[in-house]
């Protein structure tokens, strides 16, 4: 800790200043609804700088320090991570250090090609992991979940009929939507009509996703509006 700023930052005055900054920045962003203007540009540019630094700090303290530096130089971590001081040095973690430094050569045009070695690792890792992961979780398990008995006795006749209908819609919907995605055969005749049903199923899915997205955005909007109302009323500062 370079500066003991905690008492200042925890004071009621600092809280009030923080609320005012947050409220003004919120209004600056909302000003874009009128048109692009200097206030919006200010807030937008600030957001870019602050968010880049935020994620760098998060990555530094949550990944780089515990997963690399603490493993390579445990005896030097007394001040930051006292628990790892007695640990053995793990030389294997030189690999991500070297690859990470190589990645930074991207900033130097003359040797930027070296960064491809790190990219090679990243792409290889993503390809190798996703190959098995997606086959297991998104391919096999989704088919497994779809292939269930259509008839299961329910509490009432109506419930049983409802369950049978829903199960038929799920199986038929998955098959018809997959047929729509199959482009090696022309969508004509019975194949084309099934693909058309597939489009309807996909439209229902997109509609539901769209509805949820709109709800999430409106929920964020009401949150910001609530914050502004609290600021105007003075209850948050």
């Amino acid at each position: 800790m370079i500066l003991d700023a905690q008492p200042i930052l925890s004071s009621p005055l600092a809280n009030a200043v923080g609320v005012w900054i947050a409220s003004l920045l919120t209004l600056m962003i909302f000003s874009f609804l009128y048109k692009d203007n200097p206030f919006y540009k200010f807030a937008e540019h600030l957001f870019v700088g602050v968010s880049a630094a935020y994620w760098m700090c998060v990555g530094f303290w949550t990944t780089l320090i515990p997963n690399m530096i603490a493993r390579l130089w445990p005896s030097h971590m007394g001040g930051v991570l006292p628990a790892v001081v007695g640990n053995q040095r793990e030389w294997g973690y030189v690999i991500p250090l070297v690859l990470g430094l190589i990645l930074l050569t991207r900033l130097v045009t003359r040797i930027a090609w070296l960064s491809r070695w790190a990219m090679g690792f990243v792409i290889g890792f993503a390809a190798g992991t996703n190959f098995t992961r997606y086959l297991q979780s998104d391919f096999v398990s989704q088919i497994h979940s779809t292939m269930v008995p259509i008839y299961e006795p329910g509490a009432t006749t109506a419930a049983t009929i409802g369950n049978i209908f829903s199960q038929i819609v799920i199986v038929g919907g998955v098959v018809s939507a997959l047929i729509y995605f199959y482009f090696s055969k022309e969508h004509k005749g019975i194949f084309g009509r099934t693909a058309r049903v597939g489009i309807w199923v996909l439209m229902a899915a997109f509609g539901a996703s769209f509805g949820y997205t709109v709800m999430a955005r409106i929920s964020l909007l009401t949150g910001r509006m609530g914050f502004i109302i609290q600021w105007i009323s003075g209850s948050s500062w």
Partner: protein, 228 residues
């Protein structure tokens, strides 16, 4: 050297991870979790690269007085302020060993006063654009557009009192058309069917792309420099 070495690295890393899945014994045991940590560490270096690139672009704009260069000063200032607050743990109770996001720290203060409101407002702004997009999308000109419109409307009406009062009077045999029930059915039946088909399609796409990457057929991530 420029293109062959990364292709070899991609191939070996990918193949080793697939073997580790099927042979969970030495020397492959635990390699997936170790590689996952390596990947996370490299991702942090990518963040650093992103920060470096951001500074390069904005310093260039400031130096050459390009359009809107004054706003670049805002970006750079915000960047250094947040970075300094986070890396130096300014105001963190407990000093260097304390949590960098602890209450009372400058990093947390800047997060609450600037980052969080800016992010939330920026995303909430999308509500207005989504509304204007839905106006265009929700013109039920075709059967497909009507299905999209009905599904989205039912989902949107569900949490509102209007959604309840519109259909609560329906007789018991038609209760499945009551908007909260209909919304649940849309989510768990046609939506699930559509999502499953999409997930199966994506999985097949990812598997084939992964194979193309590992075998060196897909090389676009290497760029075009040094090709030939």
């Amino acid at each position: 050297m420029k293109r062959t070495v990364p292709l070899i690295i991609t191939f070996f890393v990918g193949i080793i991870l697939i073997i580790a899945m099927f042979v969970p014994h030495d020397p492959f045991y635990g390699l997936d979790s170790k590689f996952s940590i390596f990947y996370d560490v490299i991702a942090v270096f990518a963040f650093i690269l992103g920060g470096g690139n951001l500074l390069k672009v904005h310093f260039y704009k400031i130096q050459n007085r390009r359009r809107d260069w004054k706003y670049s000063i805002v970006t750079v200032s915000g960047f250094f302020l947040m970075l300094g607050a986070g890396l130096l743990k300014i105001g963190v109770p407990g000093g260097w060993s304390g949590d960098y996001q602890a209450d009372g720290s400058l990093f947390k203060y800047l997060y609450d006063a600037a980052f969080q409101p800016l992010q939330a407002t920026m995303f909430s702004l999308l509500a207005f654009f989504v509304a204007s997009a839905s106006y265009r999308a929700f013109r039920a000109k075709t059967r497909e557009a009507t299905i999209l419109l009905v599904a989205a409307f039912v989902i949107l009406l569900r949490p509102t009192p209007l959604g309840y009062y519109l259909t609560f009077w329906l007789p018991k045999p038609l209760q499945f058309l009551h908007i909260p029930n209909l919304s649940t059915w849309i989510m768990s039946v046609p939506n699930m069917a559509g999502q499953r088909a999409i997930m199966i399609g994506i999985a097949l796409g990812i598997v084939s792309t992964s194979l193309r990457l590992m075998l060196g057929i897909e090389r676009s991530y290497l760029g075009t420099e040094g090709k030939g």
